[in-house]
Symmetry: C2
């Protein structure tokens, strides 16, 4: 998605060879116009998938998920993160390990908002090691919902998550795929930019 | 806002005389179409206020804030909650006491995304004791930004927050004002419903 790639080029800050900061439009400050375009793009890519519900995780997944839900005219559910298992009554939970924080947290969704009739589109802001997406997929599976695909705003193509999810058979659509963050530079995966151009 | 009041009447669950659960469209599951209407309503009410930025707090403030930002064509910044003061470098922080959780947490915004040129619209999902809104206002003041007003999706009119904020001179616009949650029933403030009718 050209608009997103331009935004990353102009405003992304490479903090290390594995960390890209996009606080100016996605993770702290949010650009609503860009999020609307992101929502349109996901809605287009999954237009024929019969999506009934979008599943994301607080907090940075919410904006792209809500904009996608607006386009597809389906509700959005965001999983909550909690450190400990408190009230698991009526909750579907999964454990998510964060490599960055080196800690495991529980994520949870109320049983009321996900069931076996659902065709779920999972949306998240970043895909790195894939742990959050796998946790969301686990929740969808526990609810006996089917998973139509996974929409990612920015995929770190040099980390394992994308391969892991695709090997498990999930359709993963990433709007920007980072090839590398070496030497303080963002480079994008050729295939992704090529696909972008072919799509025009 | 009639659409919102209808939604609360149909889907809100009164858990106690002070707690209304609106998990089906605002706090866990999100109704994107309703949020779009909420955004349009806030944008209309603050159309002439010269808003340059919207300030909200994770997680449930994000959806209404982003939809308002989309209409007003301004960026949205969401304050992060954190239990402890870790990296305060480049952060503007405020303490927010939660009566529900009986704990104080720090909320923070990066200095980069709020400054003295800003005219800020504060958006939040609920207004009860006003602590979150006061914390966001404190952050805006510390950044020397001016505060154009506070937009609340659901105000608990029987709690102190609204009075507190209005007494301090803030313009508070609440789209639904609850008069009471006694006896398991939601009743709305007359003035609010009257205003709704007058607006038609």
């Amino acid at each position: 998605m050209e608009l997103l790639i331009e935004k990353i080029k102009n405003e992304g800050i490479v903090l290390s060879s594995s960390v890209l900061k996009v606080d100016s439009f996605l993770n702290h400050q949010i650009d609503p116009q860009l999020m609307q375009e992101v929502g349109k793009e996901f809605a287009e890519r999954f237009a024929d998938s019969g999506i009934t519900r979008i599943l994301t995780i607080e907090s940075s997944g919410i904006a792209p998920a809500v904009m996608t839900g607006l386009q597809l005219k389906v509700p959005v559910v965001f999983a909550r993160k909690r450190k400990s298992l408190t009230l698991v009554n009526d909750l579907i939970t999964a454990s998510v390990y964060s490599f960055t924080k080196q800690e495991t947290s529980e994520i949870s969704v109320s049983k009321k908002y996900l069931d076996e009739k659902d065709k779920v589109l999972i949306i998240d802001d970043f895909l790195a090691n894939g742990q959050a997406a796998l946790g969301l997929a686990e929740i969808a599976k526990k609810a006996n919902a089917s998973i139509a695909g996974i929409g990612i705003v920015i995929e770190k193509g040099f980390q394992d998550g994308g391969r892991l999810l695709r090997e498990q058979g999930y359709r993963v659509e990433s709007l920007a795929i980072l090839d590398s963050l070496e030497n303080g530079m963002v480079s994008f995966e050729n295939s992704s930019e090529k696909m972008e151009e072919l799509a025009r």
